[in-house]
């Protein structure tokens, strides 16, 4: 599989949130008005102006306290349900060189809710006028030989980016070294997270739920006409 991928090693993420700020800075996104809700996680969720969000969860696993950090963003699916749902390449399309899933201003014309519902990772967010937005892989940086802003700023090596082959190799290598590590949906997406706990403890949508790719009727219809090999690859 050509194109690019991220490898997100949550085991070394310190939740410094450099990635969250770098994303806003590169994209020139405004800050949201926030309050402290009794958590460090802020803004509370992704939004039309927040593409990258570090999620914080305090959990107790086997009597041991864990503070889990999950730098959430679009997974750039190899076969994006949002793209299929939109079915409009002027609104949602895949960049052929990198595999980045990109949204344009034409998303305004789409059924925003249907696109949002189609995403197994609960990523796209709509503006008041219905325009959709999410992580764009810093495609403008990547096309010019730069790393995505979030990767460039990461001090610990939690955020990595490169060719899909390199990232899969790195993910495999790291997984072998870390006890109990698992990779999330690595075969389906371009943002490969490595975790050590039950992925649901990090975030409800850390992994695609079973049958997630069937949530939308439009997608189901599409699948019916797709070659069987594609379906079997998912199983």
């Amino acid at each position: 599989m050509p194109g690019k991928s991220f490898f997100v090693d949550t085991t070394v993420c310190t939740a410094c949130r450099g990635c969250q700020v770098a994303c806003k800075q590169w994209h020139g996104l405004p800050a949201e008005k926030t309050v402290n809700r009794g958590s460090y996680q802020n803004p509370a969720d992704l939004s039309f102006v927040t593409y990258k969000l570090v999620r914080f969860e305090e959990v107790v696993v086997k009597k041991k306290l864990k503070w889990l950090f999950f730098a959430d963003q679009c997974r750039h699916c190899l076969e994006p349900p949002c793209e299929m749902t939109a079915d409009d390449p002027t609104a949602i399309f895949r960049d052929s060189a990198t595999g980045a899933v990109l949204y344009t201003a034409n998303t305004k014309k789409l059924d925003a809710q249907a696109v949002i519902d189609s995403c197994p990772y609960n990523i796209p967010r709509a503006a008041k006028d219905g325009t959709l937005a999410k992580c764009d892989m810093c495609i403008d940086r990547v096309e010019n030989g730069l790393l995505p802003a979030c990767v460039k700023t990461c001090p610990t090596g939690a955020m990595n980016f490169g060719s899909r082959k390199e990232m899969l190799a790195l993910a495999k290598k790291r997984k072998a070294k870390v006890k109990g590590a698992k990779l999330l949906d690595a075969g389906d997406i371009r943002v490969i997270y490595m975790v050590t706990e039950d992925p649901k403890l990090y975030h409800k949508f850390a992994v695609a739920s079973i049958g997630a790719f069937d949530v939308s009727r439009a997608v189901a219809m599409k699948r019916m006409v797709r070659p069987l090999t594609d379906l079997t690859a998912r199983l």
Binding site: T14, C16, Q20, V35, R37, E58, T156
Partner: protein, 808 residues
């Protein structure tokens, strides 16, 4: 740092205590991760489970202010289980020294205590000397009066059961920490400590650090790669500013500020130049007069003639026995004795302990000059909460300065690297570089003194020639700091000659006769005839491949990247750690890092090579100090409770608090211990999203978005007791002030079992202030903290105090 950031990656065990490195030094984690990937263990000791703790192999919670108990327990563990590096301890530390008969320790007090003066007579802690005037020693460490045996006795009381009662850390957790860390005592293993204000901001702050330094010496962890005692400095250039005399009691290069009793230059140099009778002791400070005279020459140039004692008499002297620290300055300002104040790059209305006192103190000023990139709570104190501007006479001048990236100059990081930075964008609008503001100020003072003024010599004689084309020139200052030959000088022994006007190649060439200048001897070697060393960007590692990168920037002293590195080898000059070695004797010379002096190895202790020197060249007797008779509060660290604490009696002794702590007595200085109104232990800290008081980060929308409000973190149990819900606004109070904040109810704080009682702790970030965000409701946590100081440094005890939290 004795070592440097990259070197953390060489460690086998990293203890992060008194620091939340992941949040406050995020880049450090690059190297922590590197070490961990090679198998290093990470230990986090903190009252609260932090983002650092989330990455640790071992997390041990402890009550704020009990570090000496916890670390003292580790010393006992090391000694009981013989985990120390005996060869290292015997050869390089003062463990073999015999302590004089007058020394004793009883009921929590060392010998020589004067309760009325709250001071020790330190002469009772002196070493026993032989006929030649060299300390008597027992290299076998068996003499009952040797430091090693006294150490054993002192820490025999620090058993894990008692330590656990004091710290609230479970015995099981204590043992886990001790076992993991002390494993680095094994030859070839290295453990490091990363600490910050969580250790220093206590009435026992200095002794907290000393306890760890002692552990590092016992384990042979000083001088080696991946070891050392590493202070993570809180600002990008705080190491540089300390090196260049930020603090009142030191001149540049850690020379002493003269006391009134140092009546002449000769008396000053005599007082502060240590003398050793031991021919094997390098006693490096014997060069003191060369550094003090060269500094005076750099200040006053040609005016600093020998006949005028090189200008010594023009410099201010401090009264003997009197302190002029931050706490003292604000105390005097509060009392009305200080009338003018330059607040330069600081925000004491939020950053200082007992910030409410500081704000009240500012009302007594005639004038204040606020030099900052933004207006802040200090410059605007007169219209802050509770202030009535019509009754405040203080005239405030705001001088907007440019930011660091808009000017050229050096920044010295925690690892002692002086790194040259070029100018990025030009200063915005009418802002000016600090250097330009200072130059102008100097010229104006000269102009005014020329007309009239009492004692004009210090100002009129200042050399003050650091401008080029009417602008401050950082290269001229950097060269001045390095120093020049002021005459043609020959060094026949070294077979070298230098011409007047040449830059001095290193401090080994500085002289006490006025023929050299150097603004800071420690930086002599940083800007030489070879160029600006700090501007170097060489990417090549040294021969030992441990990440020294000797041609990247420049490091004091003389580009030595790991100090005390002569202790990283055995007596024959062979590294303890064969793989990650720092220096190595080839038979003819040292290779690797710049060694602590080029003398050959000692060879043996019985008959040391007469050409050699003991390893710790900065100490008078050449040995690192496990017994430290120079500190104000005792030669061995002892656990005392914080000034404000939750228990009536110190479990360790009859002395509850540090008997020499600096306390203040204005009506704004209330201290309450074991008062039912303030039952909670409080502490303060920073967050990764804001920097210091937040003056630079609160106006930044992306950062404020992430941490918009001041908060108090508390355990679920405490919240339940108080009926407080997560995310609701609450009121925190102490004997000094109050703070409205948002409650974060978290599993990351747990109640402590202290003796038979349950003690709750809470914590506040101190990065807020009323000036911004615009609601004006997010205030500084320093409104709660006490102005009480460590007796050695007068650093305030903001990390452990008593408070309460209640529903609004």
């Amino acid at each position: 740092m004795t070592n440097h950031w990259i070197d953390i990656g060489n460690s086998d065990c990293i203890l992060i205590s008194g620091s939340n490195a992941a949040e406050n030094h995020p880049i450090s984690f690059k190297y922590v991760v590197k070490a961990m990937r090679k198998g290093a263990k990470l230990i986090s000791v903190d009252p609260r489970f932090t983002r650092t703790s989330s990455k640790a192999d071992i997390f041990a919670p402890m009550r704020s202010g009990t570090d000496i108990a916890l670390l003292g327990g580790m010393i006992k563990y090391i000694l009981d289980n013989k985990l120390y590096n005996k060869k290292y301890v015997s050869a390089y530390t003062n463990a073999p020294f015999i302590v004089g008969k007058k020394f004793s320790f009883k009921n929590g007090l060392f010998s020589g205590y004067n309760r009325k003066a709250r001071k020790y007579d330190k002469s009772t802690w002196a070493f026993a000397m032989d006929k030649k005037g060299v300390p008597k020693m027992d290299r076998g460490l068996k003499d009952p009066r040797c430091v090693f045996q006294l150490l054993k006795k002192h820490y025999s009381r620090y058993n894990t059961k008692l330590v656990s009662q004091i710290t609230g850390t479970s015995e099981a957790d204590l043992k886990k920490v001790y076992k993991a860390y002390t494993a680095t005592g094994k030859t070839g293993k290295a453990g490091t400590i990363m600490y910050a204000m969580g250790w220093t901001q206590h009435t026992v702050g200095t002794q907290n650090i000393r306890t760890m330094a002692m552990i590092q010496l016992l384990l042979g962890n000083i001088g080696v790669a991946g070891g050392g005692v590493n202070a993570l400095r809180g600002e990008s250039n705080v190491q540089g500013s300390t090196d260049h005399c930020l603090l009142w009691h030191i001149w540049p290069g850690y020379l002493k500020t003269p006391r009134a009793s140092n009546v002449s230059l000769a008396a000053y140099n005599k007082k502060w130049t240590p003398k050793s009778k031991d021919p094997i002791s390098a006693n490096w400070w014997q060069n003191y007069p060369k550094y003090s005279v060269s500094m005076l020459k750099s200040f006053f140039g040609d005016n600093a003639t020998k006949a005028k004692a090189f200008g010594y008499n023009w410099l201010p002297k401090v009264d003997d026995g009197k302190a002029y620290s931050w706490l003292d300055l604000f105390d005097e300002m509060y009392k009305g004795t200080v009338k003018g104040f330059f607040a330069w790059g600081q925000n004491p209305a939020c950053s200082g302990a007992n910030a409410g006192k500081n704000r009240q103190a500012m009302k007594n000023l005639d004038w204040m000059v606020n030099v900052n990139i933004f207006d802040n709570e200090t410059g605007s104190f007169w219209h802050g909460p509770g202030m009535n501007p019509s009754t405040i006479k203080t005239e405030v001048f705001m001088l907007p300065c440019c930011v660091s990236f808009e000017k050229e100059g050096s920044v010295t990081n925690s690892g002692r690297w002086s790194q040259w930075r070029y100018q990025g964008p030009k200063p915005l609008g009418n802002t000016k570089a600090d250097g330009d503001i200072m130059m102008e100020l100097g010229f104006k003072l000269k102009e005014l003194y020329k007309k009239s003024g009492v004692f004009p010599e210090p100002i009129m004689n200042l050399k003050w020639d650091y401008m080029t084309n009417g602008m401050y020139d950082s290269h001229k200052v950097a060269k001045e700091i390095n120093g020049y030959f002021l005459k043609n000088v020959d060094f026949p022994k070294k077979k070298k000659s230098f011409k007047k006007g040449q830059l001095v190649p290193s401090f080994a060439y500085l002289k006490a006769d006025g023929s050299t200048s150097s603004g800071n001897w420690l930086y002599c070697n940083s800007y030489t005839e070879k160029g600006n060393m700090a501007a170097r960007r060489g990417q090549e590692d040294a021969v030992n491949k441990i990440g020294l990168y000797p041609k990247f920037s420049w490091c004091w002293p003389v580009n030595r990247r790991i100090i005390y590195n002569r202790a990283s080898v055995d007596l024959k000059g062979r590294p303890w750690d064969k793989k990650d070695w720092v220096v190595k004797w080839t038979g003819k010379k040292w290779i690797g890092d710049v060694p602590d002096g080029g003398w050959p190895p000692l060879g043996s202790l019985e008959k040391p090579n007469p050409k050699s020197k003991w390893a710790f060249i900065m100490r008078k007797h050449g040995h690192a100090q496990i017994f430290g008779p120079g500190r104000a509060d005792g030669p061995f660290p002892e656990h005392y409770e914080p000034l404000e604490c939750p228990i009536e009696k110190n479990f360790m002794s009859k002395e509850r608090m540090n008997p020499t702590a600096a306390v203040y007595a204005t009506d704004a200085d209330a201290y309450l211990t074991c008062d039912p109104r303030y039952p909670l232990v409080g502490t303060t800290y920073r967050v990764v999203e804001h920097w210091q008081t937040g003056a630079m980060t609160r106006p930044q929308p992306w950062l404020l978005e992430m941490q918009p409000q001041v908060f108090v973190e508390m355990s679920e149990k405490l919240a339940k007791l108080k009926g407080i819900k997560n995310g609701e606004r609450v009121l925190a109070t102490s004997a000094r002030g109050s703070l409205e904040c948002t409650a974060i109810v978290t599993k990351r704080f747990k109640p402590f079992k202290i003796g038979k009682n349950v003690v709750h702790q809470v914590g506040f970030p101190w990065c807020f202030g009323w000036r911004w965000p615009e609601t004006g409701k997010e205030e500084s946590a320093n409104l709660l903290t006490p102005a009480v100081g460590d007796p050695n440094t007068r650093i305030p005890e903001t990390k452990a105090f008593m408070c309460n939290v209640s529903k609004l």
